[in-house]
């Protein structure tokens, strides 16, 4: 039951890219081609799952006062590993991602999940949450990449920076419109207030 909510939240109800607006920088910057989007999506998923799992494992050892520096160090270590792995196995991808690969450290999604969930929940739930949120982010990133690459054949704006903002804005509007239709069929109220967020981007329902 618990795990079902985690998956539904990550993929649709509280999707990191469309609702929580976390990790906007890589989402907009790396979605210019599908290849880049898939590469960064996997790297983020990798860091997010392992960081959620390891933060959940050390949750009793870390003191409340120093938790943020400790979490940031865990995330930075994992990001460096991801960076070195991609550099070793796919050098062209490493070059085209540029500084957005090391910038996974400051992706607020990862620190946000650590702060909101992984530091309180047991290993299984935390890992599943990392997987769900990471996949939700991955799907938005790849669909944005696909839309922009497809549209750039006819509308040159789609490949340029303004196109990224407008395309994501349209995707969010679509999500909200579908959500409104879905709400009519669901009897149970959905708002979830138990998550405390590190950062408040967008509206808190």
């Amino acid at each position: 039951m618990r795990l079902a909510t985690v998956w539904l939240d990550g993929l649709w109800d509280r999707n990191p890219g469309l609702i929580q607006l976390l990790g906007l920088c890589p989402l907009l910057a790396v979605s210019n081609t599908v290849d880049n989007a898939i590469g960064l999506g996997f790297a983020t998923l990798f860091v997010l799952v392992i960081s959620n799992a390891s933060i959940s494992l050390i949750r009793h050892l870390v003191d409340e006062a120093i938790r943020l520096p400790a979490f940031v160090l865990v995330i930075a270590t994992l990001t460096t590993s991801a960076e070195l792995l991609i550099q070793a196995f796919d050098y062209p991808l490493y070059q085209s991602l540029g500084i957005f690969l090391p910038l996974i450290v400051t992706n607020c999604l990862i620190l946000g999940r650590a702060e909101a969930l992984a530091r309180r929940e047991p290993l299984l739930v935390s890992t599943m949450d990392g997987l769900a949120q990471g996949l939700g982010f991955f799907l938005v990133l790849v669909s944005l990449g696909a839309i922009r690459e497809w549209a750039s054949d006819t509308i040159i704006l789609a490949a340029l920076p303004p196109g990224a903002f407008i395309a994501l804005g349209m995707l969010i509007a679509l999500h909200q419109a579908i959500q409104k239709i879905l709400k009519r069929f669901r009897s149970k109220p959905q708002p979830n207030t138990q998550y405390r967020r590190v950062r408040t981007t967008g509206d808190i329902p």
Binding site: A76, I99, G169
Partner: protein, 193 residues
Amino acid sequence: MTDLLLLIVSAALVNNFVLVQFLGLCPFMGVSSRIDSALGMSIATTFVLTLSSVAAYLLQSLLLIPLDVMWLRTLAFIVAIAVAVQFTELAVKKASPLLHSVLGIYLPLITTNCAVLGVALLNTNRAHTLAESVFYGIGAASGFSLVLILFAGVRERLQLADIPEPFRGASVALITAGFMALAFMGFSGMTRS
């Protein structure tokens, strides 16, 4: 000197950090709903950005390169930024409690502002000297502040507008940012790189 000024113009307008390079979008969307909070965030970010680009430069040239551990730069820079943020907070608290009460809540957020780490990493990638690093930091910070305050002004007006329901909230904000990015494309080609 001309080179340094061009570097500022390039970082602030031509390759604007927020609208062209997509760095620092979280505070751009998060604290732009009111002009005064946008102003507070801009001042705090400017200070930390300049300080941390110096810190990152020193760290790189005195520690990372002599010890040949450049692969540790992400880790080293994020620690340096966290220290710079903490230092700024202590200094502001000591110097002006009034300013601290205004800026206090924005300071911890800056640690995860990707523009700050982004400037440090771009300085390394482009092999900037100390002076170039500082000016690049100032340029990036002024570009960020300019766009943040302008966007806050637009969003204050947007609150009164009649927007179709699915587009309300984040959606219309992003589309507005897209039009701002379109306007900033007018600067492209004014300087090299």
